[in-house]
C-alpha cells in the first residue's frame, strides 16, 4: 500500500469544496465540545436521509462541518478510484453499498482500522480482524410483484421459481453492471444455483431493466409483474400507494450489509471516528430505518412494512465478500455473456 | 420551336416593381440583345425567360407553349435552354471538364461522344488543357469561359447569355463573339443576349431591345437603333452623343444652335419652338477651317488619345461638343481654334 498515503498538504484534496484548514488531530484536542474542523463523507445513501441526519449531526457535533458527496455506489467508487490514482483522496469517511469494495480497500491498505464503541452492537458482517470497516445499514435483495397483475396467492415464493414458465416474460431484474447490490445478488444466485440459473432466466424471457430505480418503475407501472429488486425500493413506493408487494424468497434473501469505513488519508480521524460512532448509535440507525433499510443493530426496529431481519436472516444466502471482491469482473462478464445477444 | 413571346410581363419584388410591363417577340433563330443601364431589369427578364423567376403578371410563350403566367410555370429544365449567369455559377466542386460535361451527362450522351463534345466546347472558348483544373484554380475570365462552354455544349434550342464576355480581354471577346455567332448560325438557335458592350450588341444582334427601368424604349435592328433612335434616352444610351439645345428656325427642319450653327434635321412630332439636337461625335469632322451650313467655330478644350482615335472636347457657342478624330489625320492640341462640320443630327423634344 502506501501509494496514496496522505503526504499531501492538508485538506486540499477534498472534492466537494471542503475548505478545512484543520491540521491532523485538531479535532481531537478540543475536549468537551467534540470534534471540530470538517469532514467529507462519500456516500450512496439517499439524499433524503442525508437531509434527515444533517441537522442531527450538527446537533451532535456543533463544531464539525460535515460535507457530503452523494451518488450511486458505483459513481462514488469510480470517483474514489480516480482520486486514488491522483493520490488525492477527498473522502474521510466512506458509506457505499457494496461490502466487497471495502475488502478491496482494505487489501490496498486504504482503510483506517477503528473499533467503534458501538462495534459490538452491530449484528452483521464486520471486519473483526482489523476493524477496517463495519456494516452500517442493511439492504436486501428480494422479489417484488405488482398487485394489479399478480394475486398474493399466485406470487412467486422463491428465486428459483422465476425460471418457471408461469413467469415467462414477466420478470425484470437489475443490471449487475450498473448496480453493486445487483452484483451481489447475481454472485449469490450464481453460487447457489450455478450460471444455469441465469440461462434459464434468460430463456424464460426475464429482462434486465437497468438500475434499481428503473426496475422499480417498470414494476410499478405494470410493464413487468415481478422484479428482483431491493427491498427498500419496494417499501418506499408501496408507502406512496403504488401497487407493489414484497416477497422474502424462501430460498434465501440476499442480505447486503453496507459498511462504513474511514479512509487512512483522512486529516480528521477523530471526527471521522466520532461520526462512525454516531452512525452506529441508535440515533444514526433510526435514520437508516427511515430510509427503508434495516438497521445493523438488533435494538432498532425494522422499517415500516418490512419483515424483521431476524425472521429471514437465518435463511439468507451467504455471500463470501472476499471471493466476490476478487471476482466481481468475472461475474459481470459472465452475466453479460449469458444475457447478451 | 424557339419563338418567344412576352405578353405584358410584370415583375415585382416585394413592393419594388422591377418590370412594369414588358411585351416583345423574338423570332426563331433570332439573335436578340437586351441593352440598358445597370439595374434596368435585363437579368430579371432573362431569369423570367429561363423560368427562375415567376411572373407577377403577364405571359411568356415559347413557341405554342405557355411557359410562364401567374398560374402556369414550366420549370427551367423543361425549357431546353443554355444559359450563362452573370455570376458564372461555375460549380466549385467539379473540375472544368465535369462542369462543362454536365448538360451532356443529363442528356445521357455516351462517354466517348461526351468527351469529344466537351473538348470541342473547351476549344471554342480557348480553354484546352485546363480540363482538370478546379474552378478555384482559374482566373476570372477563365471561369467565365467555363460557364460559356457549359451553356453551349449541349447545343440547346435557346441560349440566354448574361454578359458572358464581360471579363474577357478585347481579343478573346472578339474571338468568342465570332464563335457564338457561328454556333448560332450553324444551329439556327435563338439567342437572347445581355451585354453592356455596344460594339458587341451592334455587331452580333439581329435586333436590339433598349430597356430603361424595366420598360422597352425601342426595339429595332442595330443600325436603326443607332441611326434613328426613337427617344432621347436611346440616343444617349447607345453610342456617344452631344446634346445641344436648338431653336427651330423653320418647319422644314432648319434649326439654330448657339449663335452661328445652323443644321437641317427631321423635327420630332408635334410642334416645338425649341428642340434638343443630338449629334454623334463621329458625325462631326474637325478641321482647321471651313464655313457654311453645318459648320461652327470652336476651341479645343480637352483631348484624349485612345490609340485608334482621339477624342476632342470642343467649346462652341452652342455648348461643348465631343468629336472623334483619326490619329492619322491632322491632329489638334488643346487651345487650338477649330471648325466643326456636322454631317448629321437628330432632334428630340426638349
Amino acid at each position: 500500500g502506501g501509494s496514496s498515503s496522505g503526504s499531501n498538504t492538508g485538506g486540499s484534496g477534498s472534492p466537494a469544496g471542503s475548505t478545512s484548514g484543520s491540521t491532523p488531530g485538531s479535532g481531537s484536542s478540543s475536549g468537551g465540545s467534540g470534534p471540530s474542523g470538517s469532514l467529507m463523507i462519500y456516500t450512496s445513501i439517499y439524499p433524503d436521509i442525508i437531509n434527515l441526519v444533517s441537522p442531527e449531526l450538527e446537533k451532535a457535533f456543533p463544531n464539525l462541518k460535515v460535507e457530503w458527496f452523494q451518488g450511486g455506489t458505483e459513481q462514488v467508487t469510480a470517483k474514489l478510484a480516480a482520486e486514488i490514482e491522483a493520490g488525492k483522496i477527498g473522502a474521510d469517511l466512506l458509506m457505499v453499498a457494496d461490502p466487497s469494495y471495502y475488502v478491496y480497500l482494505k487489501d490496498q491498505d486504504l482503510l483506517l482500522p477503528y473499533k467503534s464503541e458501538n462495534f459490538d452492537a452491530v449484528a452483521v458482517d464486520k471486519d473483526t480482524e482489523d476493524y477496517a470497516y463495519t456494516g452500517v445499514r442493511i439492504s436486501n435483495v428480494v422479489i417484488g410483484y405488482n398487485t394489479n397483475l399478480v394475486k398474493p396467492e399466485d406470487a412467486p415464493k422463491t428465486f428459483r421459481e422465476l425460471t418457471d414458465p408461469k413467469w415467462k416474460d414477466q420478470v425484470v431484474i437489475v443490471d449487475p453492471t450498473l448496480s453493486g447490490t445487483a452484483l451481489v445478488s447475481t454472485y449469490a444466485l450464481s453460487e447457489k444455483y450455478g450460471w444455469e440459473y441465469f440461462e434459464q432466466l434468460r430463456d424464460n424471457g426475464a429482462v434486465i431493466g437497468g438500475g434499481n430505480s428503473s426496475v422499480e418503475t417498470k414494476l410499478v407501472t405494470g410493464e413487468f409483474a415481478v422484479a428482483v429488486i431491493l427491498e427498500e425500493n419496494l417499501l418506499k413506493v408501496k408507502d406512496r400507494g403504488e401497487p407493489v408487494e414484497v416477497v422474502y424468497p424462501e430460498d434465501g434473501v440476499i442480505i447486503v450489509p453496507s459498511p462504513i469505513g474511514i479512509l487512512k488519508t483522512t486529516q480528521n480521524a477523530e471526527a471521522a471516528k466520532a461520526v462512525v460512532d454516531w452512525w452506529l448509535s441508535t440515533e444514526g440507525q433510526k435514520a437508516i430505518v427511515t430510509g427503508w433499510m434495516h438497521s445493523v443493530r438488533t435494538d432498532v426496529q425494522s422499517p415500516k412494512g418490512a419483515k424483521p431481519l431476524a425472521e429471514f436472516a437465518p435463511g439468507a444466502i451467504k455471500v463470501d465478500w472476499k471471493d466476490l471482491a476478487s471476482r466481481s469482473g468475472e461475474v459481470k462478464d459472465k452475466f453479460v455473456e449469458i444475457m447478451g445477444k | 420551336m424557339a419563338h418567344i413571346r412576352f405578353n405584358n410581363v410584370v415583375k415585382r419584388f416585394g413592393d419594388v416593381t422591377v418590370i412594369p410591363g414588358f411585351s416583345a417577340t423574338v423570332a426563331d433563330g433570332e439573335f436578340l440583345t437586351l441593352l440598358g443601364p445597370s439595374g434596368c431589369g435585363k437579368t430579371t427578364m432573362l431569369r423570367i425567360l429561363a423560368g427562375f423567376e415567376k411572373v407577377t403578371d403577364g405571359e411568356v410563350w415559347l413557341g405554342d407553349t405557355l411557359v410562364s403566367s401567374p398560374s402556369v410555370h414550366v420549370p427551367p429544365e423543361k425549357r431546353n435552354i443554355g444559359m450563362v449567369f452573370q455570376s458564372y455559377a461555375v460549380w466549385p466542386h467539379m473540375n472544368v471538364f465535369d462542369n462543362v460535361a454536365y448538360p451532356l451527362r443529363i442528356r445521357g450522351v455516351p462517354r466517348q461522344e461526351m468527351r469529344e463534345r466537351v473538348l470541342r466546347a473547351l476549344e471554342i472558348v480557348h480553354l484546352q488543357g485546363l480540363e482538370n483544373r478546379m474552378p478555384s484554380q482559374l482566373s476570372g475570365g477563365q471561369q467565365q469561359r467555363v460557364a460559356l462552354a457549359r451553356a453551349i455544349v449541349a447545343e440547346p434550342k435557346m441560349l440566354l447569355l448574361d454578359e458572358p464576355l464581360s471579363n474577357l480581354d478585347a481579343k478573346l471577346r472578339e474571338a468568342m463573339r465570332f464563335e457564338l455567332k457561328e454556333i448560332q448560325r450553324r444551329l439556327g438557335i435563338t439567342v437572347v443576349y445581355v451585354t453592356h458592350d455596344q460594339a458587341e450588341a451592334m455587331a452580333m444582334s439581329d435586333r436590339i431591345i433598349v430597356m430603361n427601368k424595366g420598360v422597352i424604349e425601342q426595339v429595332a435592328p442595330p443600325a436603326e437603333i443607332y441611326d434613328r433612335p426613337k427617344s432621347r434616352f436611346v440616343a444617349d444610351f447607345v453610342g456617344l452623343v452631344n446634346f445641344l439645345e436648338a431653336t427651330v428656325e423653320s418647319a422644314d427642319g432648319t434649326i439654330r444652335i448657339g449663335d452661328d450653327l445652323v443644321l437641317k434635321v427631321q423635327l420630332p412630332e408635334g410642334s416645338h419652338q425649341r428642340v434638343l439636337a443630338a449629334v454623334r461625335p463621329e458625325h462631326v469632322r474637325i478641321s482647321r477651317e471651313g464655313s457654311g451650313v453645318g459648320t461652327v467655330k470652336g476651341t479645343v478644350k480637352r483631348r484624349y488619345y485612345l490609340g485608334d482615335q482621339i477624342d476632342y472636347f470642343v467649346e462652341t457657342s452652342g455648348g461643348e461638343v465631343r468629336v472623334t478624330g483619326n490619329p492619322l489625320e491632322d491632329q489638334f492640341n488643346e487651345g487650338d481654334t477649330v471648325v466643326l462640320h456636322i454631317g448629321h443630327a437628330f432632334a428630340f423634344p426638349l
Binding site: N8, A82, L178, G222, P243 | A50, P75, P76, H93, R107
Partner: protein, 559 residues
C-alpha cells in the same frame, strides 16, 4: 527586419485555443491512456490484451459500430429533406417547425429514453395501448422499443439535430444560381439535389454525420436504458461495467476499452476529411444572388402536414408522455382522470434545490458553450482557412474528447486537475465548466468548420484590404457570415452541458450542483415523475430562452 518577428493576433488567438484544448482535453485523456499501459508499475499491453480478448467486448464494439453507423445513416437521411424544407422552400410555419423538430435535443437523452419506454414498451406503452384499442386482436406490442431497431429509433431522434442544424444552415447559405445552372442544364429538381445540392453541402452533411456517429458511439443514456433491456451491449455500457468496479485497475481497463472509441472516431473523421479535401465548397461568394426559395406549389400543404406529423412524433409525443407521467398520483394506476395531481409539479417547482441547480447549470453551460464556440471557431478556422502544417490535428483532438465517454473523461479530469499537476479545479464550479466544454467542444468545431468551408476567401480579403486587422475581420465579416451556424454550434454545446449527467455526478460539489445531478437524483431516489417534471421544465425554459433571443435580435438569432 522586425516585421519578421511580429506577433500576429491571429496566431496568438489560435495558439491559445489549441493550448486550452490541449490542457483541458488532451492532457487528462493522455494521462489516462498512458496509465492504461502501465500494469504494476511497468509498461504492458496487458490491459489491452485482456479487454480485447473478451468476447463480450468485441460484440459490444460491433454493436457500437452498427448502432452508430445506422443512426448516422438514418439521421442524415432523415434530416436532409427536413432541412431542405425549412432551408430552401417556402414551407409555411418553418420557423416553428425548425425549433419543434429539434426539441428532442432539449431533453436529456436518458429522460427521452424513459419517455419512449413509456410510449412504446411492448406491454403497457401508451402507443401500444392506443394501437391495441384501435385494432383489436393484438395482444402485445406491436411496437417494441427494446430492440436494436427501437434503440436506433430513439438514438436517431435524439442525435439527428446535429445533422439537421448543420445542413439547414448550409442550405440557407447556398448561392441559388449554382442550382439554377444545373436546372438550366436540363436536370430536374431531384437530379439537381443529387449532383449539386448534396455535394455542395457535403461539408455540412459530413459534419452532422460525424457528430452523430461519434456522439452515439460515446453515448451512454439511451444504450443503457434501452439497449440494456434489449440485451444489446455497446462499448460504453461495457466501459461502465469496468468503471463501476471502482478500482484504478478497472479504470485502466475501461480506458483501454475506450481507446476503441477514439480509434473509431479518428477513422470517421479521417474519412470525412479525406472526402472533403478533394473538393472546394465555396457556395457563398462575392457576388450575391437572389435568395430564391423553392416554391412548393401544390405540395405546400401536404408538406406542412408531413412536417407536422414528424414534429408530433419526434417532439410532442415523448414530451406528452413525460407530462402525462408527471401528472399521475400513482404510476401503478396509469393515466386516469381520478388519478391526476399537480403535486409533483408543485413540489419540484417549490424545491429550492431545483432552482439553485438550474442556475448553476445555466452559468456553467453558458460558459462552456460560449468558450466552446470561441475555441471551436478558432480551431475550425485553423483547419479550414489557414495553410499551417498539422492544421487538422486540433480538430482530431477535439473529436477525441468527444469520443471519450463522459465517465472516462470525468475520471481523467479528476486525475489531472486535483492538484497533482499544479492546477486544482477539482471540487469547484470550474471543473464542471471545463468538463462540459471539453466533452462538447467538437460540436462547435464541426459546425464552424462546415460553415467556413462555404465562405469564399475574397469576403475576408475585402475586409483586410479595408484596413481591418484580422480580429476585426473575424468579428465583422467571418462571424456574421457563419453566424447562424455558430448559434447552432453554441446550442449544440449548451444543451447537453445544461442537463449533463454522467460527468456531473462525479464532478459536482456541494457548492456547485448542476441540474443534471438533481435530475439523476430525482429519477433514481425520488420519483421518475419529478424527473419528468424537471425535464419538461428545462425544455420550457430553453424554448422561452429561444423566443427571447429571437425577439431581442429581431429574428436574426434563433434556432
Amino acid at each position: 527586419m522586425s516585421m519578421r518577428f511580429r506577433v500576429e493576433s491571429k496566431s496568438v488567438a489560435i495558439a491559445l485555443a489549441v493550448a486550452v484544448l490541449l490542457l483541458f482535453g488532451i492532457f487528462p485523456i493522455v494521462l489516462l491512456v498512458i496509465n492504461s499501459f502501465i500494469v504494476d508499475g511497468h509498461f504492458s499491453l496487458g490491459n489491452f490484451r485482456e479487454v480485447y480478448a473478451n468476447k463480450s467486448n468485441l460484440t459490444a464494439v460491433w454493436n457500437t459500430i452498427k448502432a452508430s453507423g445506422l443512426t448516422m445513416l438514418f439521421g442524415t437521411v432523415l434530416s436532409f429533406p427536413l432541412a431542405w424544407l425549412v432551408g430552401r422552400t417556402d414551407l409555411p410555419f418553418k420557423t416553428v417547425f425548425r425549433t419543434l423538430i429539434i426539441t428532442p435535443y432539449m431533453v436529456p437523452p436518458f429522460v427521452g429514453a424513459i419517455a419512449w419506454g413509456y410510449l412504446a414498451n411492448p406491454r403497457i406503452g401508451y402507443l401500444n395501448q392506443w394501437i391495441r384499442a384501435l385494432i383489436p386482436g393484438i395482444e402485445q406490442g406491436p411496437l417494441n422499443i427494446y430492440t436494436m431497431g427501437g434503440m436506433i429509433w430513439v438514438l436517431v431522434l435524439f442525435y439527428f439535430p446535429f445533422s439537421f442544424l448543420s445542413i439547414s444552415r448550409a442550405l440557407e447559405k447556398m448561392d441559388p444560381s449554382l442550382e439554377e445552372a444545373a436546372r438550366i442544364s436540363g436536370a430536374g429538381p431531384m437530379r439537381v439535389l443529387k449532383d449539386i445540392t448534396i455535394p455542395l453541402t457535403a461539408p455540412a452533411i459530413a459534419a452532422g454525420a460525424l457528430l452523430v456517429f461519434v456522439a452515439v458511439a460515446s453515448a451512454f443514456g439511451i444504450p443503457s436504458l434501452i439497449g440494456g433491456q434489449a440485451r444489446i451491449q455497446v462499448v460504453t455500457t461495457r466501459i461502465i461495467s469496468y468503471v463501476y468496479v471502482g478500482t484504478p485497475e478497472a479504470m485502466h481497463e475501461a480506458t483501454a476499452l475506450a481507446v476503441v472509441l477514439l480509434i473509431l472516431s479518428v477513422i470517421a473523421l479521417w474519412f470525412s476529411n479525406w472526402y472533403l479535401a478533394k473538393r472546394e465548397y465555396f457556395t457563398l461568394g462575392g457576388k450575391s444572388t437572389r435568395p430564391t426559395m423553392v416554391e412548393l406549389g401544390r405540395w405546400k400543404w401536404p408538406m406542412v402536414v408531413l412536417f407536422a406529423i414528424a414534429c408530433f412524433v419526434f417532439a410532442i409525443l415523448p414530451v406528452m408522455a413525460l407530462v402525462m407521467t408527471s401528472l399521475v398520483k400513482t404510476m401503478g394506476r396509469g393515466f386516469a382522470f381520478d388519478n391526476l395531481t399537480l403535486d409533483v409539479w408543485r413540489s419540484v417547482l417549490k424545491d429550492k434545490v431545483t432552482w439553485r441547480t438550474l442556475r448553476t447549470s445555466l452559468f456553467s453551460s453558458v460558459l462552456a458553450a460560449t468558450g466552446g464556440t470561441v475555441v471551436g471557431l478558432l480551431i475550425a478556422y485553423l483547419k479550414v482557412k489557414t495553410r499551417v502544417r498539422f492544421r487538422t490535428i486540433p480538430d482530431f483532438l477535439a473529436t477525441f474528447c468527444n469520443a471519450t465517454p463522459g465517465i472516462v473523461l470525468a475520471l481523467g479530469l479528476i486525475i489531472a486537475f486535483s492538484g497533482k499537476y499544479g492546477l486544482n479545479l477539482y471540487g469547484t464550479f470550474w471543473m464542471l465548466v471545463v468538463a462540459y466544454f471539453v466533452r462538447h467542444l467538437s460540436y462547435a468545431v464541426r459546425q464552424a468548420a462546415a460553415a467556413l468551408e462555404q465562405v469564399h476567401p475574397s469576403l475576408e480579403e475585402a475586409a483586410l484590404s479595408s484596413g481591418a486587422g484580422w480580429g476585426r475581420v473575424f468579428r465583422d465579416v467571418t462571424i456574421p457570415l457563419i453566424g447562424p451556424s455558430l448559434v447552432g454550434g453554441w446550442f449544440l454545446v449548451f444543451m447537453p452541458s445544461f442537463y449533463e449527467l454522467t460527468m456531473s455526478v462525479l464532478l459536482y460539489s456541494s457548492k456547485a450542483t448542476p441540474v443534471g445531478y438533481h435530475l439523476y437524483h430525482l429519477s433514481s431516489f425520488a420519483s421518475p415523475q419529478s424527473a419528468a417534471v424537471l425535464s419538461v421544465l428545462i425544455l420550457i425554459l430553453v424554448l422561452i430562452g429561444n423566443l427571447l433571443m429571437r425577439w431581442a435580435s429581431r429574428g436574426k438569432v434563433s434556432l
